[in-house]
Amino acid sequence: MADIKLAFIVQRLPYKSENPKLAATHAMAYQTVEILLEDGQTITPALCYIGEGVLNCVKDQKAMDIYGITSTEMHFKSCLLVDMDVYVCKDDLEKFGISEDRIADAEDMGADKKVQIVPFEAIQKVMNTANHLLFF
């Protein structure tokens, strides 16, 4: 098998624990994993935010001002910058009353990739096609 698909599922709140950030940093490691793999072996990550995890995706986070740490939003945007597929559950955004225009994107950083706000069914399809699921 040349390519392994990993689905990183984020369902925890931002800042209450470090898990959402770790999901993003672990997913981004697909960029450097090739140094430990053979030629032709690749890992393709997908980062999916569901449940309370969608709160990680809200833009204009002030983590640096308040906590003195980089924001979860920056991690989210960095994933888009490295061309990762990033999915946000539309159903859960609606449950929290969060409109789609409040979700961060990385256009200001020059990212070509756009966040994909999709129904939970679409995220289930991503999970079904993944070789391994990693819940954060």
């Binding site: 990993l6 470090e18 898990n19 994993v33 819940f135 954060f136």
Partner: protein, 119 residues
């Protein structure tokens, strides 16, 4: 023989998840499986040596050493560890230090992955 990679993100003290991960690793190794253990997040504070074994708390040092002796590969996230004051001079010998791509590379060649998230 299968290859099992376990990612542990929970702390040594505070829940029994870490303890469970080590016991599962031990059982899998005893059955002849190849096991890789990855520590990140709060679990990266666990490979520190000189732990005092108090009866009320989970204890990681002796079990970790035993797993290393069985040939289980154990690696900690360097950034997560040093952020918690664990560095190569005060860490348990035999534990590897690397970045998150170590975990992904082990996942690549694993038959099963068990990802035990943090608190």
């Amino acid at each position: 023989m299968a290859v099992l990679t376990i990612g542990v993100f929970s702390s040594l003290i505070g829940s029994m998840n870490y303890d469970f991960a080590l016991r599962l690793s031990d059982a899998a190794a005893d059955k002849g499986h190849k096991v890789n253990l990855w520590f990140s997040g709060n679990a990266a504070g666990s490979p520190i040596k000189g732990q005092k074994h108090l009866k009320d708390y989970s204890h990681g040092e002796k079990p970790l050493k035993a797993l290393l002796e069985k040939g289980i590969e154990i690696c900690t996230c360097e950034a997560c560890s040093v952020a918690r004051g664990v560095n190569k001079t005060n860490a348990i010998e035999g534990v590897q230090w690397n970045a998150m791509h170590w975990y992904l590379a082990k996942i690549y060649s694993s038959d099963r992955v068990l990802h035990i998230g943090g608190e």
